[in-house]
Symmetry: C2
DNA sequence: CCACACTCTTAGACTAAATCTAAAGTTGGA
DNA sequence: TCCAACTTTAGATTTAGTCTAAGAGTGTGG
């Protein structure tokens, strides 16, 4: 594990610091699209001195270097993902869960045509709907009348 | 214009109020993916009494009813879009501009396979990269050393 | 080994985004 | 007309994220 991260840092040229390591390690270990706050709370438990600003700094640096990918969520805190294998996301309307979907290819030709003269760095695909748990009524209808 | 909105409200069954009308009208007139705050400032100019909470309420109701679609932006305020014809989005890494892209179809089969048992309501596709203005160096490199 | 520039971390203040609250206003139907 | 449900309002509150200024760590050249 330690070595895997070592290599990741080396590969991207991003300077490794204990804080950045811990943030990345948390994301790699807990593949669940955590928010900056969640990461702060977790990592701060083992390192009392670690500050919120450092978590944001580290996340920015990691995103910048490509080791982490941000997942924007409408009206809520951004989430972060250290799973490098390419994949898509599914967000449940009801419970907000973010689930990984297997990668599927895109109509590259049509896409480039639509993009016109723009330089495309990345394509983000998010499906929205109802997750299986919610479909089975396993989740309380969102914090309402509850 | 007035009638178009009338019909839109009627069609979706969403109760029309002057405030909701004004919010929707602004979005229809200014096709530029405004934030709640921008809408508030604009609409509040002509109706002093309109409050921020109402803008958020109205936007939620409109999104709920399908007349408006939200556009999540990583690390920034959500934006809203009343252009109903389906289309995709392009977000510029450098200047943050959100541009509309012509619609292009998706590999439905592969997508459903990836979604498995989940009920998909909507698919959101966002391309990221550098817009044409930025590519031509027409924009100042984002608020840095500036 | 030291000096110095550079990078990074820290605590906490600050700004911005969004939600909540409780009271007042509006609406449509009985 | 009356009522219950719905909507709006101002402002407080919560939450997300940025900024700042001081200090700590790192690496290179002397
Ligand atoms: Mn993921
Ligand atoms: Mn659009
Ligand atoms: Zn769900
Ligand atoms: Zn741009």
């Amino acid at each position: 594990m330690k070595e895997r991260l070592q290599k990741a840092f080396a590969r991207t040229g991003l300077r490794q610091t204990p804080q950045r390591h811990d943030v990345l390690a948390w994301l790699v270990r807990h593949k669940r699209h955590s928010t900056a706050e969640e990461i702060f709370e977790a990592v701060n438990r083992s390192n009392q001195r670690l500050s919120r600003a450092t978590v944001y700094n580290a996340l920015h640096a990691l995103v910048e270097s490509g080791l982490v990918r941000p997942v924007a969520v409408e009206g809520a805190a951004s989430r972060f993902d250290a799973t490098l294998d390419r994949h898509h996301h599914f967000i449940c309307d009801r419970c907000g869960a973010i689930e990984d979907l297997a990668w599927f290819g895109l109509p590259v030709k049509a896409m480039q045509a639509a993009a016109g003269g723009r330089a495309v760095r990345d394509v983000e695909i998010t499906l929205h709907g109802t997750c299986e748990r919610c479909a089975r009524g396993k989740t309380k209808p969102p914090p309402k009348t509850e």
